[in-house]
């Protein structure tokens, strides 16, 4: 079952939190939804899950429109809202049965479904505790478990791995990958390595507008800031500003823990290395190091969402 979002907008007063965005998520696809704080990820997810209606535009899940057939769509979606709100006074098992109940899981299937999600979310040790007695990471697992309880075709997860320990992140990642084989998954996150590890495709949103949509690889190819070098230059004068004025330079940065080395992003590879070398020769500087760095998703993210 696909999610298809067309010209979707949401205004809060005069602010356009989501501004005319369109995208699709196909069955069997895991899409990572990225963007800086306040970009509109959560707002978009609230509209997809029929919690809020759009100011304009449509969201379709399968053949159903979220505006018109919300009640048909809701049972198909598993949703983990941001901040993972839970009934703290309920014991874990009781809470999961309650959610199963209101999701319309068959009465006779509830115990087995609960057991399954308790297992797959690693909740076995804590399942008899009240939710308020759980640590943040375990609460997050309960949130995930309730989203999965009715075996939904569509999963919408708003920052699912916040607060999890590294082991659990890997486990949840594998779980999402496994689920994602047959289902449609849209997840938002700020952990970029996670996106590369889990998602088939990436959507980047900024100020309510989609600024990138594609695989991690295709985004890397498209990005202007393709090449990054770490260089160490010894010499007189203001090297940083001279480097910035070289042709084809996108940015020059110094990391606090290595103040003598500059991180340069540039549009080209070999021609740019030659340019740096020539610059040093011309000024009489010593070029002590020049290491090409692998372009990371972080760089792309920053390139697309800053300025």
């Amino acid at each position: 079952m696909d999610i298809s979002v067309k010209s979707l907008s949401k205004n809060y007063g005069t602010q356009k939190a989501v501004d005319n965005i369109s995208f699709e998520v196909k069955t069997g696809e895991i899409v990572g939804f990225l963007g800086p704080n306040g970009a509109g990820k959560t707002t978009t997810m609230k509209m997809i899950t029929a919690y809020m209606s759009p100011s304009s535009g449509t969201v379709k899940v399968g053949d159903y429109d979220v505006n018109e057939d919300a009640e048909t769509i809701k049972p198909l979606i598993g949703y983990l809202p941001e901040n993972n709100p839970l009934y703290l006074e309920m014991p874990v098992l009781e809470y999961l049965s309650f959610v199963a109940d209101i999701q319309g899981v068959k009465k006779t299937d509830i115990p087995s479904r609960v057991r399954l999600v308790v297992d797959s979310c690693g909740l076995n040790r804590e399942k008899h505790k009240k939710i308020q007695e759980l640590s943040k990471g375990y609460r997050q697992r309960v949130g995930l478990a309730q989203a999965l309880i009715h075996d939904p075709d569509i999963l919408v997860l708003d920052e699912p791995t916040t607060g999890l320990d590294p082991n659990q992140i890997v486990e949840i990642r594998n779980l999402i990958r496994k689920i994602g084989k047959e289902k449609t998954v849209l997840l938002s996150t700020h952990i970029l390595p996670e996106v590369e590890a889990t998602c088939d495709r990436i959507l980047i949103i900024k100020d309510g507008k989609i600024v990138a949509d594609g695989t991690a690889q295709s985004l890397k190819n498209r990005s202007r800031a393709k090449y990054t070098f770490k260089v160490m230059i010894k010499g007189e004068g203001n090297i940083a500003s001279e480097l910035r004025s070289l042709e084809g330079v996108i940015g020059v940065e110094y990391l606090p823990n290595e103040p003598e080395k500059a991180i340069i992003t540039a549009e080209e590879d070999l021609p740019f290395r030659e340019r740096i070398f020539n610059y040093c020769v011309e000024k009489g500087h010593l070029l002590l190091e020049m290491t090409p760095e692998i372009q990371s998703l972080e760089d792309i993210f920053r390139d697309l969402t800053l300025n």
């Binding site: 809020m52 809701k74 959610v99 109940d101």
Partner: protein, 242 residues
């Protein structure tokens, strides 16, 4: 129906967990008990056994207690965000509102059931009008339904429990007391109008054992209207720019 029931059950069990249920039971059964006992002494003088003191005090205890039961219902879920989880599950807004209504209603029914010993002891001591007492109980149930619905409504437009509690009391006091006063000083059509809007009018007629369709219409229409308004309030999240 099963979903409404699960929601009602969850609400009821939060009452049990949070001691609210026990406080209500102790206070309600205790206070009504004291008043009923005082009237026991009357029985020996007048030889007429009556539940009127019981109904008179229940009228106020329930009125004051119900907003404390309902204030949490939507306000707290809004504040903590659990409302978003609830409303994105396979339930309609109406099922959520009605389930919560039912949860509070069950607690009131339990409290009323705990007052049955007073009824039985009165009946043991002297001749009572069973019809009137049953009608009186039905009246208290209908009145509770009405105030629960008003309380759920006031809980739907704020995320602050205290605000929900106070507005429920303010709206409630009009029906409970002020309309009666207005009717007493009013004239003609207005007198009639406020007389009809006063809860007291309908409770009194029921405790006298008179079943009148107008009483039923009064309680049920306000109940349905309150729940409907709560649902409308929930649906407002859907309106753009809200």
């Amino acid at each position: 129906m099963r979903k409404i029931w699960s929601i009602a059950k969850r609400e009821f069990s939060t009452y049990l967990d949070s001691l609210v249920a026990y406080i209500l039971l102790v206070v309600f059964v205790g206070i009504t008990g004291i008043f009923t006992w005082i009237s026991f002494t009357d029985v020996f003088f007048t030889n007429i056994a009556s539940m009127e003191p019981f109904f008179g005090i229940s009228y106020w205890v329930l009125f004051l207690f119900i907003p404390a039961l309902t204030m949490r219902m939507l306000a707290e879920e809004k504040r903590t965000g659990t409302l978003e989880v609830l409303l994105t599950r396979a339930v309609t807004d109406w099922q959520v509102v009605f389930g919560k209504f039912l949860g509070a209603m069950i607690l009131i029914l339990v409290a009323l059931a705990f007052s049955l010993p007073w009824y039985l002891s009165i009946a043991y001591l002297g001749p009572v009008d069973h019809g009137a007492i049953i009608a009186g109980y039905v009246g208290l149930i209908l009145m509770s339904a009405m105030y629960i619905s008003i309380g759920i409504f006031t809980s739907s437009f704020t995320d602050n429990q205290i605000v929900a509690f106070l507005t429920a009391l303010v709206i409630g006091i009009f029906f409970h007391w002020i309309f009666e006063l207005v009717s007493n000083i009013g004239k003609g059509v207005w007198k009639e109008f406020f007389y009809f809007l006063s809860t007291k009018t309908h409770i009194d007629s029921m405790t006298r054992g008179v079943f009148d369709a107008r009483d039923l219409v009064f309680f049920l229409s306000i109940t349905v209207f309150g729940l409907y308004m709560a649902e409308v309030q929930l649906a407002k999240r859907n309106i753009a720019d809200a």
